[in-house]
């Protein structure tokens, strides 16, 4: 199931990563934010359809979320 266009979700994820860039661990902070506020369907859509649109921090965050989900 897709929720929102992949482009829009990628934009949002990159925006989150940019604003969390100065935290101690930007990847973990970005992953935690997305996990806390996005539906699983939004996360799946982003991971499956727009990973290539992400900057390095958001991309690493999505990979971390995928790993955490097992």
């Amino acid at each position: 199931m897709s929720v929102g266009t992949p482009e829009r979700l990628a934009y949002m994820a990159n925006q989150i990563a940019t604003n969390l860039a100065l935290t101690n661990d930007p990847v973990a902070a970005t992953a935690e934010h997305i996990h806390s506020f996005w539906t699983p369907a939004m996360q799946r859509t982003l991971a499956s359809e727009a990973l290539d649109r992400l900057g390095p921090v958001a991309r690493a965050a999505m990979i971390q979320l995928d790993a955490d989900a097992g």
Partner: protein, 948 residues
């Protein structure tokens, strides 16, 4: 209760640690030092005749009616201006006083119409009462002398008349305008016998004057000189019910003064702790929408938005709706359903809507209009302080020494609180305004901001970083406070960041447009000027860095030690009446009531045990995500209570596309609003006058909403939601909203001590109300932050992606105006339209000249999202390069122009920054023409089928 005028002690309450004992008419009385003899007599149960005195005004001493005799004192001093003294012996009733008072009253009555029986104030007139009190039986001077009886009536104001023939020149109206409202619109013109009340210049009438129609003068008038038109038309009220206003987040309490089922007038309740007896033009007068002819009172359904509506019974509407919701859930899955709660509805109603979504729909797809206004406040303050709410009560402002107002326009958006601010400013507090526009607070009678920092829209974080830079690098931070109350390592990290040269006012001046010297001076004033209080509004939150700005504000407050006592704090001025409450009640898709994340197993377990259903541990969809999902075909049904997302939410084309893609849009509202153009079910709503419940205002104050008349549609809103839940198979059996509040209290720790009985006895309670704070919490974080240590968060300035360029060279920012409220659904259906009948575009003279525009010209306002047309107002209130408009009128639909950009943390829309172009226009845009046709078509109601 029956009808009794509100008690008036004559002069204001005095607070003092010292008490004074005296005797009044032989009775021993003890009062605080500084109290007037008049008030002391009133508090002792007596009553000294008076006309120019009122306990919300400073003593004036002009009417000469309140004279008393004081042992050892010569003459007969005015009791209103004479303070009590230890051992004083006062006589209020003697033959000499009676003679003097009667003589004074004779003079008043000799120049006053003797039309009591036909006067609208008959039996509710202080002059009449006092004439009786002094035993006036005749007037020796006759009535043929020079007088004012021929003065003509000023009926220009839509809500009240000014009849100077009945004026006794007591100045109460003038003083109320000055002292209570702070507008200084009225004056006493002329001298001696020629003295008369005047609204501004001699040529002005009330409507054409600076008067803001707050009603303070009408309330102050002791005669029928200033009188509500409704009293003249309907008659004297016969009962009064105290309830809470349904407009802005100030949460004024009013006495709804009734005659039968008809509201005669709404009078601010003097015991109201939010408004302290004051009101604005909306709450005081703009309640007529409740009985407007366009109100829809019968449920309606249709299978397609291309069809006309069909009126049906409540049973049919609810069973059809439940059937559609169940069909869609079965076909597309439970996540295809969602709901939106309303900040205009009560806590109890909001709680039920989110419960319906969570327990009935089986997901967390619930959101609220705070998404588009104060969701960054929730995120930012929870992150830094641990609680998603402001830290102070409104009274706290009277202890502030420096007010920092950023991104708020209190005189328009929160006018009753603005009057409190102005009162404190007149007492000498300093003011810093950070706003792209020169809002009224910057300079108004007897008030002038020490600094106005007219920043470029979208640069709030940069300005706050620069202020922090000054405070840190000039060693103005409150290190003792920070070491005791905050995480020192986080502070050090933050201080290192803001201290970098790139965050200096000089480095950021090209970005913000704020002169570095002004910014430095403002920062120094805030850090060193005593109690510093920060007030902010949607000019902070509705940006791509809204949450960052809230956290930057919190950083500034913590760095200067301005948290945890009176006169300081971080104070979000909430837009709608129950934004705070709607957020408290679990309206966000990631939180249960009391701001507990849905992933918290302990919180979920509480709700699961109470409701008997599993709670989804994953967050649900936010409003923009719901619309995205709808256009993608995965979100199919929505229940919208009391919101008009088509007009209020950004990027109207995106909203309409989302709504159009759904199979079942349920609108529960008073009117066929703009969203209803895309609805399949319309459930009539009830107004705040027709329901019981509670609202929670911007200071976390939970206040009763009381039903003053039966719902015209037959049901209070909570009853409709309950019936829908029952139609879907849920076993809900609330008999009264008090039972819903009891459930809220059981499930929400910060509401643990709240119930309707306590609210009735105490008037209001400020959460948290629990074992630690049984009487509530006016000030938060006194001994420590809710999260433990206050958290400094580094907030780097990230420019918005919305940029000006050759095609769209100007920045549009949007806002509100005093007389209209939100999308205008209520206020547009009142006489308030005389002040604002259309949205106007403010444009700077230089930008106007470049385009050949003058005030009144029609202009085309275009962005990459869309375009609309409206008329221009040329003004230097806005800076060059910036234009401004309101969004109160659907004919304009300013949100056709706003974009999809939003706050990084919460998706709160970036309403305040849109790149636009302005060009002359000679007609409506294509969108406006198309929308008008749709709007007309979608509001058709089929003729009822005749019975066979």
């Amino acid at each position: 209760m029956g009808y009794e005028p509100q008690a008036d002690f004559g002069t204001p309450l005095v607070v003092s640690d010292t008490t004074i004992s005296l005797t009044i008419d032989g009775r021993a009385v003890t009062v605080p030092a500084g109290t007037s003899v008049m008030r002391a007599a009133s508090e002792a149960g007596g009553s000294i005749p008076r006309l120019c005195a009122s306990d919300n005004l400073a003593a004036f001493g002009s009417c000469r009616l309140c004279l008393v005799e004081i042992e050892g004192m010569r003459g007969t001093p005015a009791s209103c201006t004479t303070p009590v003294a230890e051992g004083m012996a006062v006589k209020t009733q003697t033959p000499r006083l009676q003679k003097l008072r009667k003589g004074v009253m004779e003079l008043y009555i000799s120049d006053h119409p003797l039309d009591c029986l036909t006067c609208s104030a008959n039996n509710d007139c202080e002059l009449q009462d006092q004439a009786a009190a002094v035993g006036l039986r005749d007037v020796r001077y006759g009535y043929a002398g020079a007088n004012h009886l021929g003065s003509s009536l000023d009926a220009s104001n839509p809500y009240f008349d000014f009849d100077p023939s009945k004026c006794i020149a007591c100045s109460r109206c003038v003083r109320a305008c000055d002292e209570v409202q702070g507008t200084f619109a009225l004056t006493i013109e002329g001298r001696g016998f020629a003295s008369k009340v005047s609204a501004g210049l001699a040529s002005d009438n009330f409507l054409g004057s600076e008067c803001v129609s707050c009603g303070a003068c009408v309330q102050a008038c002791p005669t029928a000189t200033l009188q509500e038109k409704a009293v003249k038309e309907i008659g004297k009220p016969e009962r009064a019910v105290v309830t809470t206003c349904a407009y802005c987040g100030v949460g004024c309490t009013f006495r709804a003064e009734m005659r039968g089922e008809q509201v005669v007038r709404m009078v601010p309740w003097k015991d109201g702790k939010a408004n302290r007896g004051h009101s604005c033009v909306k709450g005081r007068f703009a309640w007529g929408y409740a009985q407007h002819q366009e109100r829809v009172l019968s449920p309606m359904i249709r299978s397609s938005i291309d069809e006309p509506w069909r009126e049906v019974s409540w049973d049919e509407a609810l069973s059809h709706t439940a059937s559609e919701l169940k069909r869609i859930s079965a076909r597309y899955g439970r996540n295809a359903l969602g709901g939106i709660t309303s900040s205009r509805c009560t806590n109890e109603e909001t709680f039920l809507v989110q419960k319906l979504v969570r327990a009935g729909f089986g997901n967390n797809n619930v959101d609220t209009c705070a998404r588009v206004c104060h969701s960054p406040t929730g995120y930012g303050l929870k992150t830094t302080f641990g609680t998603s709410a402001g830290t102070q009560d409104f009274d706290s402002v009277m202890d502030a020494d420096v007010m920092l107002v950023i991104g708020a326009n209190p005189t328009d958006g929160h006018p009753v609180f603005a009057s409190r601010m102005k009162r404190r400013l007149r007492q000498g507090a300093k003011l810093i305004v950070i706003d792209p526009r020169r809002i009224d607070l910057v300079k108004s009678p007897h008030i002038e901001a020490a600094y106005h920092l007219p920043l470029r829209p979208g640069t709030n974080v940069a300005v706050l970083s620069a202020m922090a830079h000054v405070i840190v690098t000039e060693c103005l931070a409150d290190e003792a406070f920070i070491r005791e109350r905050c995480d020192w390592d986080e502070y050090a990290h933050w201080a290192e960041f803001v201290g970098q040269d790139r965050n200096s006012p000089e480095a950021l001046e090209p970005v913000t447009g704020v002169p570095a010297a002004d910014l430095r001076a403002a920062a120094r004033l805030f850090a060193t000027g005593g109690n510093g209080a920060i007030y902010y509004g949607l000019g902070v939150t509705e940006h791509s860095q809204g949450s960052s700005t809230v956290m930057a504000i919190a950083n500034l407050a913590m760095a200067t030690g301005n948290i945890g006592r009176r006169g300081v704090g971080v104070n979000p001025l909430r837009g709608q009446n129950n934004v705070q409450g709607a957020c408290d009640m679990g309206s966000f898709p990631h939180e249960l009531s009391g701001y507990r994340h849905v992933s918290d197993p302990d919180a979920r377990a509480l709700f699961e045990a109470a409701w008997g259903v599993p709670i989804d541990p994953e967050p649900g969809l936010r409003i923009p995500n719901m619309l995205d999902a709808a256009t993608d075909g995965t979100f199919k049904a929505i229940y919208i209570q009391g919101e008009d997302i088509l007009q209020s939410d950004p990027d109207t084309k995106h909203v309409s596309a989302g709504l159009a893609a759904m199979e079942c849009v349920i609108v529960h509202d008073l009117f066929l609003n703009e969203t209803a153009s895309y609805a399949h079910v319309f459930l009539p709503g009830s107004t705040f006058l027709e329901k019981n419940g509670t609202f929670t205002n911007a200071e976390r104050r939970i206040q009763p909403v009381r039903k003053v008349m039966e719902p015209l549609n037959g049901y209070e809103d909570w009853e409709v939601t309950q019936e829908l839940a029952r139609a879907m198979g849920l076993d809900w059996n609330y008999a009264h909203p008090s039972e819903i509040m009891d459930e809220i209290a059981r499930l929400t720790p910060s509401f643990a001590g709240v119930n309707f009985a306590r609210l009735a006895s105490q008037g209001s309670l400020q959460w948290p109300v629990n074992e630690a704070a049984p009487d509530g919490s006016p000030i938060m974080h006194i001994d420590g932050f809710v999260r433990g240590k206050g958290k400094f968060v580094v907030t780097d300035y990230v420019p918005t992606d919305e940029r000006t360029g050759p095609r769209f060279p100007l920045l549009l920012t949007t806002g509100r105006i005093l007389s209209q409220y939100n999308v205008g659904a209520q206020t547009r259906r009142t006489a308030n339209v005389v002040w604002h009948e259309e949205d106007l575009l403010e444009i700077h003279p230089s930008d106007a000249e470049n385009r050949g525009l003058k005030s009144g010209d029609w202009v085309r306002l275009a962005s990459r999202s869309g375009e609309t047309t409206l008329r221009a107002t040329v003004t230097d209130r806005v800076a060059p390069g910036v234009v401004y408009t309101t969004f109160h009128h659907p004919a304009t639909q300013a949100n056709v122009v706003t974009t999809e950009f939003s706050d990084w943390a919460t998706n709160c829309p970036e309403y305040k920054v849109t790149a636009v172009q302005i060009t002359p226009s000679n007609g409506p845009s294509e969108w406006q023409e198309g929308y008008e046709a749709l709007s007309t078509r979608s509001r058709r109601i089929a003729d009822p089928v005749p019975a066979e």
